[in-house]
């Protein structure tokens, strides 16, 4: 059962990585990052249940708290960038590296 959990976690992590690299919509990129965190949580919980040690539960609790903080920051970034640029394309958001005045 533990091996099945680990393999499912690897598959979900790979799907999240594919979405993170290949999509240009920033909301989908954000949800891919959340999928990566969830895959890690799944393997932590499985290992923790296998060892009978609840440290893994605490670790994934902390990861969920960090994901909540990240969600708040990402949402305000979405609102600011959408108000400024009028698009969700990640290629347009080059405010730090652009040569031209926008």
């Amino acid at each position: 059962m533990l091996k099945a959990y680990m393999i499912l976690s690897i598959i979900l992590f790979s799907i999240g990585m594919v979405g993170l690299i290949s999509r240009r919509n920033i909301i989908v990129i954000y949800m891919s990052i959340e999928l990566l965190l969830n895959a890690v949580n799944l393997s932590l919980i499985a290992i923790s249940g296998d060892l009978g040690d609840s440290s893994g539960h605490v670790m994934s609790l902390i990861i969920i708290a960090i994901a909540a903080a990240e969600a708040a920051l990402f949402m305000s970034l979405f609102v600011v960038l959408f108000r400024k640029k009028g698009s969700l394309d990640a290629n347009i958001f080059d405010l730090l590296g652009s040569k031209y005045e926008s």
């Binding site: 690897i10 290949s22 240009r24 949580n41 799944l42 249940g49 708040a72 969700l88």
Partner: protein, 171 residues
Amino acid sequence: MRSIALQNEIIFLILAVLAVVSSIVMITAHRPIDSALSFIVTLISIAALFGLVNATFLFVVQIIIYAGAILTLILFIIMFLNIKDENLPDEKYKNLWLLGTTLLILPFSAILIHLILKSDIALNSVTDESFGTIKDVGLTLYSQWVLPFELVSVLLLVALVGSVTLSKRND
């Protein structure tokens, strides 16, 4: 005893297929509302997988915080931004990108899965009654993990201040 294990394996298979299919839909859907709704399915099936290995407290936390708070926030923001089709990026080569990235990621995950299958990690599932309950997790959190807990509270404060500062209009 044997039938319970078989039942658990069947439930695990159903949930795993549900999670993988809905996450694939999540990364391939064109409109963000479709990917957000299918991501909810992924999160709830992951929560049920937590419940399957006796992590009852994390099951509740996953449903309340992830599916209840974070995804609701995403749906609210998608509704609030009033996204039209011309605001979305026109990903002309999206399928090509997805295929290429899959071919790039596939060897790494194949190596990892091969390693997992070859290793001899033991299977001794714990049948302790109190394992994974809120009392057990809370005792571990407040005895061994006090410093990370406090650091997370500082991080949440920083995120709160940062999001307020970011979303304030600078006239």
